[in-house]
Symmetry: D2
């Protein structure tokens, strides 16, 4: 698997220091461990080593979905991969699904949704702040996902244009204001998944879901803890994120409409 | 969205009582809340209600990936959706990916892998016990995923037939014995993800990964807790699964071979 | 350390099967592993083995505080040792402290409070249900703690009789209704610790604490997980209690009164 | 409750900023919010406010056990109050107990042990590093606990001088090397509690406990998470300590000796 000019590569120093870099001819990439001539990468093999000007080795990795998510510009609070993973699974989406997302933010969740609905599905992503859409567009383009997304500078609480959706994913301050619109735009049995940091947001959203006849309503939170694996010194990591947000899942039930 | 004869439907009574049922003409489905004539479902709408012989309402839902996973026959210990979600995301796979899995078990993780690599990808699933393969085949067929899976009655510790794989997923007792084979069969930068209940399995697997030059090695565990959402009575659920297993992730690095 | 008639002993079979038994002359204790003549225990050594009529060995242990807590008659929801431990530490109490508790319930927390304020301190325990007080009295007596407790069949929301208290511990449905009384009865800098299962109880209690000028207000929850320790099979336990309650701590500040 | 010269007070600004200060006549205490003349505190009331030279209010609190623990000089890794609370409860100690602890470190756990065994009990604390003992002595003195502790500049793996102990508490790198000594020095049914960060330490310790006939062996870990309590914005705290250590508990069984 050769590295081409224009590719994005992940330069890996160690588990805490990785760099997502576009391979542009004639350019250099500077780190505090010396610089790397990007010309030296072109035509090389993915997985090989490259040595910086200071003699430090980096591994040249092909970026995965998770790398693009983590490296999204952090102009807004990013959603964690652990939560993205659960949102994807709970939503039931897959290749071919048509999904509405609100809000876009910097496009981290959008990137993941697009990744999984390819090649025939589509993500319609609503965002009221135009400046976020610019950032999201760059991030989606970098991850090669722009073709599968329609970015919309609209307020989802004013309505959803699309119909017969497989899922509506809400990562916004007032998800309960989007529930009635989601209900109208979802297929029968379509799913809604909402991500919210506070208990109060969850309560309002669940109440709105019940009012609109959604069933199988469930709220969970996910705690992820790393394990330090070294023979004789095995222990969970000291540092851990204590809370990101609650994930609420529900299914549309046509019968109460 | 009409219900057809031969469809699998999820009959939903409440969050703890759901039934995955094949709609067969002339048959009835019995629950302790009365029986349901499956003929009455044919031609109906997904999301509608059906009333049992005892006057109890069920909602007829279209099964999602998660339902197929949960309803896999439990002849072996099943892997939890929370772990499946993380394995999928960490592996980096998506539509078109070629993946080896070992072992198949009852096919819960296989179903999820197939779901996400559709329509052009493939899952090669190794299992030494023939009786599990029969169960897995039925579960995959039910979920409509059999076309995307090749079930192999082989021991992955004896070698992997496929080459240029995007990912190798290990859910087996001795994952460290499969690492050298995975290394040979993965693309450069391909991923390996291993799921193991014990610390000791993790240590041996991580040591083997290091020996074979894998990089970006990371082990995590995921705790999922439900929230009871009822205004005035909001609280986390009392019951919680304390441990399922550790997920270990790594990327192949061609450079050390 | 000899075993005397009238002692309570803990018969230990394995970690899940222990029995708190009063050593009464002429009596036998029946288990599904056979019976034990209690006469055989009298004059024996703590820590020694006793063999049942079916030839099964039990170890005769001297009960610890935790055993008395766990074996309190479960007529009401018991508070867990993990929470009791934190309540004790957060409250700042120790030998000599004067503490009000509400409500008594079956006396599990009361037993612990009494244990730690001995020999010169006192626990004043309020309970509106007379039948609980009878149970609590028996449990306290069994643990040898009755001398350090004054059980009061009173509603703490109607007022607290005592003054200059070191701490007020609330394990009741409406702790916020006791805050103003606690404030009047606490020493300057006295502490209040409240235990509540729901978020809504916590919010009301914290708001009441703020209104009454309490400072250093802090709410925590504690998750306890067991580790299965067997070389080659080390792993956290599968079963775990996901939630018991939130512990809220605060200190009285005289200055805002 | 008046403040006297020589008292330690806790100056409270907010939940993250508290200062443990000795009230010395003629001195001032400097913070980045201005200075406080300590003379102004003498004769005042605990719980009252004091205003700094920059007009910022502090509340003058009487330090609790937890404050002394938290403010122990951090020359060594400190043990967390959550773990201290569980160690105390699991050990079964209380007023009058005789306890051996190893190692002393800066005396945080020693302070807690002394607090609970007062007034008639005693803590014998072993530490091989003389410089730690100096720090521990200062911390114990400040907390008023020095009278209840005997600090010993000895290696506990060479033997325990005391006999008939109620409990042995191990917070050291190689707890398994102290088990045989603990076994000889404990009363029948006495308890041993060990605190260790790594899985490997736990395995070795549990194996040693089993070899020496200890029963009721149990290992747990405790996760503490704070809740942000503000109406409309309730949520667990983002920051959380993921791991401190495992607590292993066991009881001596005379019968296997």
């Amino acid at each position: 698997m050769k590295i081409f000019e224009g590719d994005y590569v992940l330069l890996y120093l160690d588990q805490r220091r990785t760099y997502l870099v576009k391979v542009e001819a004639g350019k250099t990439f500077h780190t505090h461990k010396g610089f790397i001539r990007l010309d030296d990468l072109i035509g090389g093999e993915y997985g090989s080593k490259i040595t910086s000007s200071l003699g430090v080795d980096f591994v040249v990795l092909r970026p995965l979905l998770r790398d693009f998510i983590f490296k999204s510009t952090r102009k807004t609070q990013i959603i964690y991969p652990k939560d993205i993973a659960l949102i994807i699974l709970f939503s039931g989406i897959g290749p071919g699904s048509r999904v509405v997302e609100a809000g876009t933010g910097t496009g981290a969740l959008t990137t993941a949704l697009a990744h999984y609905v390819r090649p025939d599905g589509k993500v319609y992503s609503y965002e009221i702040k135009g400046e976020y859409l610019e950032v999201a567009k760059r991030n989606l383009n970098r991850a090669g996902m722009l073709d599968f997304v329609e970015l919309k500078n609209k307020d989802v609480t004013n309505g959803i244009d699309e119909k017969d959706l497989d899922a509506v994913i809400l990562d916004m301050a007032t998800p309960w204001e989007a529930v009635s619109h989601a209900n109208k735009s979802l297929k029968p049995c379509g799913t809604i998944v909402s991500f919210s940091p506070t208990v109060d947001q969850v309560v309002k959203t669940v109440e709105s879901l019940k009012e609109h006849g959604f069933v199988d309503i469930e709220t969970v939170e996910c705690l992820l803890r790393g394990l330090q694996v070294e023979r004789g010194k095995v222990r969970p990591h000291t540092l851990m994120t204590g809370h990101t947000g609650y994930i609420t899942f529900a299914r549309k039930s046509a019968s109460i409409l």
